[in-house]
Symmetry: C2
Subunit: 114 residues, 2 copies
């Protein structure tokens, strides 16, 4: 299950941005995080800038920019937003597991195909 | 919040398909339901065929096909899948409301802009 939050015209926050934040936290680099997601450096930067602009404080602190990709880390607000999004995913999945299983149980049984 | 279920390679089920099912139920027509979503007839039919093929029984019963668009209605399984998806949305939203509010509260206050 994938969750995407739409805050009017201001921001969409979904699995791609969440995974990018997690990658930046783990790799210390916007370019490395993007690369691990098969995302261009430009695309990764664009998503980071979008998030940084949407929140009251930047989520990602880039110590040096530029094409070679300086270091980057999550701000306290970045850590908080990522944690809230992950908690949301877990809680939503737990709350909806019965419905998800009911839908999955109605899928055609592909093991019956010849 | 928008939810998209990914069942491996077999099916993605998200707000678009759910709204299309609801539109078919309410309008009795695939083409009318698609039109109300600014979706081409071809696109609406393609989504219906994808859903019908993925489940153990068709979700949408089309009494007459063709470009002029015959009548259509949801099968009992179509009603069930739509109801489960809507219940999932409600339950997930309720379970995650605290997290969603926490994220929304961190968005930049655009009313402060000059």
């Amino acid at each position: 299950m994938r969750l995407r939050l739409h805050f009017g015209d201001r921001l969409m926050l979904g699995p791609g941005k969440a995974d990018l934040l997690a990658g930046i936290r783990d790799s210390g680099s916007i370019s490395a995080a993007g690369r691990a997601m098969s995302m261009s450096y430009k695309r990764a930067w664009s998503l980071v800038e979008e998030m940084n602009a949407a929140f009251g404080a930047p989520l990602v602190i880039s110590s040096r920019g530029g094409a070679q990709g300086g270091g980057a880390h999550l701000s306290p607000m970045g850590e908080e937003i990522l944690a809230q999004y992950r908690a949301l995913e877990q809680r939503a999945l737990a709350a909806g597991s019965e419905q998800i299983e009911a839908i999955a149980a109605r899928l055609r049984d592909i093991s019956e195909e010849k």
